[in-house]
């Protein structure tokens, strides 16, 4: 990793991404896109879309489309979507409108739950899943991070200094988003989703940071036990926002899994010192 100065690293994340918009279910959905190759769609966490160095690194190997789901960020308030299932269906439609029929799907935290709903609804379209600290299974009473930008960053990241400048929180966006997430996030354990996960055959990679302070990394066990074709990997020294805390480690394993699926467990590390 090349550090060019304090605050410059993640501030510069996403420079190669171009903004676009697509209509789906009556929503005008903003997206950021970069890279060439097989499409990888990304669904963000409860805080909204934030491009990281992880996105940059993945976009060097694939076409990355990071959506801003309706009601988050700059989009108008979303009072129509009632459930995670509906949100997942809208995002699947958005992909279709982009001309993307089948795709790899990555979900972060809240977006991990949306991604799982999408995969159980339209399994034929999802080639593989990468779930970054998914929030579909939570200890009872888990609350999303709140407070000042600094407090939120301290809870989300093991290394908030790698963010560069803290994001500026717009109170109007925060209020609107919190209401939406509160309405959609569903119970800490969702029996219907979990039941459907038992029949999901899509290859899935579940990543948890060993220092996750939002959702205990031990929740990863439950995904591994539920989803038939699931790989659980702990990312050392990362918090909830793995792609900010350890972008190289995050992108390497995500890309390797998407390229090789189950075979990614076979090491290709070159340990020959001198021929």
């Amino acid at each position: 990793m090349v550090e060019t100065g304090e605050g410059s690293k993640t501030d510069a994340a996403g420079q190669a991404f171009r903004e676009g918009f697509i209509e789906a279910d009556g929503f005008c959905i903003r997206l950021m896109e970069a890279g060439q190759g097989p499409p990888l769609l990304h669904l963000h966490g409860a805080g909204g879309l934030r491009l990281t160095r992880g996105h940059d690194l993945l976009s060097q190997r694939r076409r990355v489309v990071a959506f801003e789901m309706p009601g988050f960020g700059r989009s108008p308030e979303n009072t129509r979507t009632r459930t995670m299932e509906e949100l997942a269906a809208t995002m699947a439609t958005a992909a279709l409108r982009l001309g993307i029929d089948t795709f790899d799907l990555m979900g972060t935290s809240f977006g991990g739950k949306v991604a799982l709903w999408l995969a159980v609804q339209q399994p034929e379209r999802v080639r593989a899943l990468v779930l970054e600290a998914p929030a579909a299974i939570r200890p009872v009473g888990t609350e999303p991070p709140s407070g000042s930008a600094e407090e939120i960053a301290r809870r989300l990241y093991a290394h908030p200094e790698r963010l560069g400048r803290l994001p500026v929180i717009d109170p109007a966006v925060q209020t609107k988003t919190r209401a939406l997430v509160g309405r959609l996030r569903g119970p800490d354990r969702d029996p219907e989703l979990e039941n459907r996960l038992r029949g999901l055959t899509t290859p899935a990679l579940v990543l948890f940071g060993t220092l996750d302070r939002v959702i205990p990394p031990e929740m990863g066990r439950i995904y591994k036990a539920l989803i038939p074709n699931c790989h659980l990997v702990f990312v050392y020294d990362a918090g909830h926002g793995i792609s900010v805390d350890r972008p190289e480690a995050f992108a390497e394993i995500a890309a390797d899994f998407l390229e090789r699926r189950e075979a990614f467990v076979i090491s290709r590390a070159d340990t020959l010192i001198h021929p």
């Binding site: 060993t210 990997v233 480690a249 390497e252």
Partner: protein, 358 residues
């Protein structure tokens, strides 16, 4: 107070044996080596009968002065031939090992000798890093990550992968698992702030060694502060102190033994190598910078007849807070085994019964 006897293999070192580390293995005598390992069992049985709580073993390489490159093999050897004494591995050198292998082997031991295995996880002395070509500048971080991976491998019920900074695994799922709880009683070994932070965060013990009471107390104080920060308070058994003791029938006899002590370092290195290692290996005590201990003589922490030693142990408890003492009653690679056994017997007879309530 619990007491542990530090068993080092006791290879009978002839006076003409080279001292400089690494010691040429041409000087190794197989019969002496075999006798050393037979003796390990005899001494473990001896201290078990005296009422010692643990016998400890360590990992050191390329020297007759401590003849145990594999603490796991030592522990299996002793556990199978003793009845109830606990076997403490103090400890596997984590940064130059495969952490998954350590987790597996310790779980095996814990299954073979349920409730009798104690684990200390160690960064290792600087000379040990030469043996397996470990960059001393990476040793601290490899230790921290390796320790975390070992705890995870013991605890995790589902197959998992590890995307580390120094270690990477895509498939881990160990069998057997430890017998009780998430893991056997475990200590992070070392005086550094990093070791204490790790121990506090993971609710395990801290093992310190060889410094004066005041010096190691900096480390144990820091550890207790960190434990409070993580919402728990360590008990006496959570603090382990390894130290040297000279015990004799009287204070005068002990003082005389101290003055006769040949001040030879256990693992002497050439001066230029020693200096380069000190440069490369940054250490601290509870966050306070301190040069690595390389090629030096280890101090004597307790010295006297039984009465004085009991008072020193009481003072140690107050200052350091240690509830477990891991003792050497004779420098490794020096003196006769018989003299050490007599000192151990005196300890078991005249000291041990009087420190139980400390």
């Amino acid at each position: 107070m619990k007491v542990s006897y530090f068993e080092t293999g006791r290879y009978n070192v002839s006076p003409d044996l080279p001292r400089e580390w690494p010691v040429p293995s041409a000087a190794y005598d197989p019969a002496t080596g075999a006798e050393a390992f037979r003796g390990m069992v005899e001494r473990a049985k001896f201290v078990e009968a005296l009422g010692f709580d643990w016998v400890s073993v360590s990992e050191h390489h390329y020297s007759p002065r401590i003849l145990t490159p594999s603490p796991v093999v030592s522990a299996a050897w002793l556990a199978a031939r003793t009845e109830k004494i606990k076997i403490a591995l103090l400890g596997p050198i984590v940064p130059s090992s495969n952490p998954i292998r350590i987790a597996e082997e310790l779980a095996m031991l814990d299954t073979m000798a349920p409730g009798r295995i104690v684990v200390g996880l160690l960064r290792g002395t600087p000379n040990e890093h030469l043996g397996y070509d470990l960059n001393p500048r990476e040793a601290r971080e490899r230790t921290d990550e390796g320790m975390e991976l070992i705890l995870r491998a013991w605890a995790e019920p589902q197959p998992f992968g590890w995307q580390g900074r120094y270690f990477q695994y895509r498939t881990v799922s160990i069998w057997p698992r430890p017998q009780h709880g998430p893991h056997p009683p475990t200590y992070a070994l070392g005086t550094s702030a990093e070791a204490a932070d790790f121990a506090a965060r993971n609710r395990i013990g801290l093992g310190v060694s060889y410094g004066t009471f005041d010096l190691v107390a900096k480390s144990t104080r820091y550890y207790r502060e960190q434990c409070i920060r993580y919402g728990w308070e360590p008990g006496p058994d959570d603090i382990l102190y390894r130290a040297n003791m000279i015990l004799a029938e009287t204070d005068d006899a002990a003082e005389a033994a101290l003055s006769r002590r040949g001040a030879q370092p256990g693992f002497p290195l050439r001066a230029a190598l020693r200096d380069a290692l000190v440069q490369a290996d940054q250490r601290n005590i509870g966050g306070e910078k301190r040069p690595a201990h390389v090629s030096g003589v280890l101090p004597i922490s307790f010295c006297g007849g039984p009465d004085r030693v009991v008072e020193q142990i009481r003072h140690c408890r107050e200052v350091v807070g240690a509830g477990v003492l891991d003792l050497s009653l004779q420098d490794p690679g020096s003196g006769t085994v018989d003299a050490m056994l007599r000192a151990l017997e005196l300890f078991g007879d005249k000291v041990l019964p009087r420190i139980r309530e400390i």
